[in-house]
């Protein structure tokens, strides 16, 4: 009988997921294994969720390398360990998943996802399901791996926006605020800010002093070209304030967009006179579309190695990027600890060395 493995994608999607799916399928086929795609996180294994499973063949996945999103869908209808039933109750359906995977003769399931998905994998592994983790998050904040795919594409979207904002900011002598993704981790803001020539970059990891930021803006306004580019992560906030979140219609009582960006704009407007401020919120454009080459390469290599791990029955491992190689490391609860921007790291020091204001007085 042909050996068979499962494959699923969970959590927020990101560019590169389809490249990873393709690699798992191509490599598994080369080793004589079948891949069953599980739709909508793991819900495709649960009856009555509207999702299912389907065999993925090499010809199906050949053309998806450069397409954003995931052909398998993602966890849109909830966590299988706390599944919302029609009657309003919340049910743990993990055992159902383990049983169904056995029925389908799945040797293991390769789970592409972030800390949430990997945590579900750990729980299911404890109940007897063989899992292999494939790290994925646009925020680049997973432990144990130097980079996650999707991140470079998101940085690319943000930098292109900065390049565009720069020319109009300069012509109109405006302060342009760009809000980018990153509730807990400021990697997108930091790397896009350096690469895009921002004058101020505000991160969740460094609560910002509005007076320090206002000073930086005033300094810029004395330059021959008195404009400023400000990058604000969604989770950036002054000390003592909670980061305001987008309040989407239908999910909250009130609605608002551009929480962190608009808050920063208000604080600056109170402090800097005669200054036109405009705010852009890139939103979900950061997590869609064609992945940049690095994300395709990384996703492809992680997927290839995951299929090899499956072939070797090397279960309970996470694929980690440790340049220039993919390594398999044990999948354990430390995956839940995010990898944040370290305010004392070299990249932060480099940003401040260049004169970028991070909302604090740079340490000596």
């Amino acid at each position: 009988m042909t050996r068979r493995i499962g494959l699923t994608t969970g959590g927020g999607d990101c560019p590169g997921l389809n490249a990873a799916i393709r690699a798992v399928v191509l490599r598994a086929a080369a080793r004589g294994m079948e891949v069953l795609g599980i739709e909508d996180g793991l819900l495709g294994l649960l009856a009555g969720t509207g999702a299912g499973v389907r065999l993925l063949r090499p010809d199906d996945v050949e053309p998806i390398l450069n397409r954003g999103g995931t052909i398998l869908g993602t966890t849109n209808r909830g966590n299988p360990l706390a599944f919302p039933m029609a009657d309003g109750s919340v049910v743990d359906r993990g055992d159902e998943i383990v049983a169904r995977a056995r029925e389908l003769d799945l040797e293991c399931i390769v789970m592409a996802g972030g800390d949430g998905t990997q945590s579900i994998g750990l729980e299911l592994a404890a109940r007897g399901l063989a899992v292999i983790g494939l790290p994925k998050t646009i925020d680049n904040d997973l432990s144990h791996t130097e980079a996650t795919f999707g991140f470079a594409t998101a940085v690319g979207v943000a930098v292109e926006a900065l390049d565009r904002l720069r020319t109009t900011a300069e012509s109109h002598e405006r302060v342009m605020i760009l809000e980018v993704m990153g509730r807990g981790a400021g990697w997108i803001a930091l790397e896009a800010g350096i690469a895009g020539g921002a004058h101020v970059v505000l991160l969740p990891e460094i609560p910002y002093d509005p007076d320090v930021v206002a000073d930086a803006i005033r300094r810029r306004r004395r330059a021959p070209r008195p404009f400023a580019l400000v990058v604000v992560a969604e989770g950036a906030h002054p000390p003592g304030e909670a980061p305001p979140r987008h309040a989407w219609p239908g999910t909250h009582g009130s609605t608002a967009l551009g929480g962190a960006g608009m808050r920063c704009a208000e604080l600056l407007a109170q402090r800097v006179a005669d200054c036109e401020i405009r705010v852009t919120v890139l939103g979900h454009t950061q997590r869609g579309g064609t992945p940049v080459p690095f994300d395709r390469l990384l996703a492809t290599r992680l997927g290839t190695e995951a299929a090899d791990a499956a072939y070797e029955r090397d279960h309970g491992v996470l694929m980690a990027w440790v340049p220039p190689d993919v390594r398999r490391i044990p999948l354990d609860p430390t995956i839940r600890t995010p990898r944040l921007v370290d305010p004392a790291s070299q990249v932060v020091r480099h940003a401040e060395a260049l004169g970028i204001c991070l909302g604090r007085i740079p340490p000596a």
Copy 2:
């Protein structure tokens, strides 16, 4: 004595302005004329505004063809005909401009701008200044010209955003709303919507019925891939409602972002159950950055023809794009009437023929 002309850019900037500047300067030089660049709209001609004039030579402008913005700056400090003085009064400084242009031996001034800039030109022409109009607006809503530069670049930014939103909308089965520029005219929304495969496109010219839009969304949610892309122009609104505007910090009492997009989201959330809606506001990224080839070509051709008109002392004319040629037409008050999307036009009919919902029941 070398013949000399002035050149200025006014109103909101848009990609292609630098290409037009370059063309005017290169062509004028080829005909033996000097070009004096006037900064910040016409303010460079007024003492005490912080702006000035500078000679533009071919070597200065050779590299700016593909750069966004305008090296001359734009009308950031107000209309010279209603200039805000330090003491709070508002003064007509038009005569000062006419006098200063004579002092500088400017045979005429080529004014690149939208309806506001061209109207100022008309008024100054009535006072004795020779002007030549070069039409420019990102909204594509100027009369007499089939297209304005900057517009194609803005459509490109919006379509790229739709391509990105599509993949994540599909993976997550979401309704994605993209708010684009266009307070009075819906050209960006309409062309980007068709080219980007939107399912709903809402224009200022066609007040939308939220129930009709909700029906379209519900239909999409029964499709095999139940996602939807909605493009909303800034000025789109239901009948009887004023379009909500962005309220920028520092300029208004309260602040809010994503007026028309968030309002549409609310109206849909009230009508469509169990539907995740997300909103992106592209903002000023639509008017910055490298112009697409068509905008460079159009700006270059308009600028070349404007320099030729100046050489021939053919004043009081507007450069108009009437494919495949640039024509010189009289600059007159009809320039103030915008060119809006005609709800009975072929392009609108094509959009509805394809099944795109414009917020109304399509006419039979």
Copy 3:
């Protein structure tokens, strides 16, 4: 019985074909008609060619709007009116096509293609097949239509190459030659050259004098930044010389790449001392990949109108772009006359007015 039409794509592919296919299918479905896709030009109608027909449903074509190429394939195995048989004979299989179309109950066939494809359509129409023409060529040289889709994307690829070549040309003070498509018509070279800031543009329509070009290069080499950008259409050549063509391995005795570009380089190297020249051949990258928004819009509108013509049984017509509308014009033999660059047109005059050398002394 459901009304049914055929749809095929012929000749060299170009970005936008899939957008046109999608529009025909979506519009036909909205009017209650079925669309049968015919593969590989019309060969899908002929037994034993390895190609076939397939029903195209709206869900099949929804995602292809922004994908290059054609999902139907194109005329890879030859002209059905002069079909190469296995025994080496060449056979007219036109009657077989007409008969097969009747068998399949096709009311008409929408044929997307260039002058070759439309000519085949005319011949089949004479034999009783109802056809509707949808113009397509990357070269923009079809009569009766102001623009063809695919062209703007090709110009975009060429301009991006020029933007890249510019920075390295400037750093190294080199002459960079870019060979672009266009054997008979120079539209890509001309528009890309103007939009990309080329100093020399050589077109098939204006045989170039190498001495005039060498003078232009020498002039550039006295500039403060002594580099030059030269765009050469495939079909450009000095008077009396035939344009050298690429000789592909397997199809000719000898092989060579970059015919027109390398020939121009040789002629310059003989005339300009101490000058580093480099040549790039963009080749088929110009006809692939994601179409730019204008090409998607144009293809979508042409396809929508073609489906409406089919619904109205308005056969024997060609969809033509006459801005701002699509018009239906009679499909007749004048389609065989290409629309070339007119050396006396305004766009040519504008190019020379700016100082671009077209390989001739500009007319007074």
Copy 4:
């Protein structure tokens, strides 16, 4: 007296050089040092070469972050240690450089360049000049540093070309060969090939067996979509053959373009029947234009660290990228040993694991 350092860029240019220049200048200014830009490699220090020196101030370099090329020019007129004189002789002018640097009070010179430039730096250091090396090569083949800026941009250009070639290859069922840069090192070909979904990738490091490649092509031609993408590095060749080089007009007796790509095409045409092959040569487009975000980030960080090294008088060091940090390592003759693709490395194994043909039978 203000402390002063020199800065120069040598060798082939690559995207990111201007970002590095900007970072050196901004960081030096923040530490109270002046930067003197030396033009055309080090020739700006030599009388009679047409090149010079100029003070670089922060306002000069603020806008160049995202521009390709180098504002300082590069070694266009030869190596200062073997300088070609007007009389045909070749002269070592190294001592003149050391003397001139002293006259100008340059504490040290930051030299951005590849192995050639760094070797010159080593020689000048031996003669008493303080140097700091900043590694740069589009080929990514410098020892001691995990990545060089410019490389990711080049990979991006190649992958975009593959994305475009893919759609037309598929429509026409062709074999598309893309020749990319890389005479000695195959990094661009390898990474672009994996990220772009190539079926065959040929590297200088693995001489290819044409029969093995032909087998791979024949296998592809039995697929449902019988097209193939082949990436060939400039330096790829069968065993025993020298890699053919481009022969540029004016520099060689005969001229030819697309050496390695055309040779591969010939070898395939001899072996695979009825197969249309087309060749594209990206040429210098790979080393120009806007750098991708990673290259800007890396160049900026290397430049910042180089300025800090200069401030600390930490001379004789090379800035190396050892993710996630920049490290200073001794500049020594090992810089001359290139970092090639290791045929036994994991990335090569991953490529073959996916089914990519590298022109050899994959090792077991």
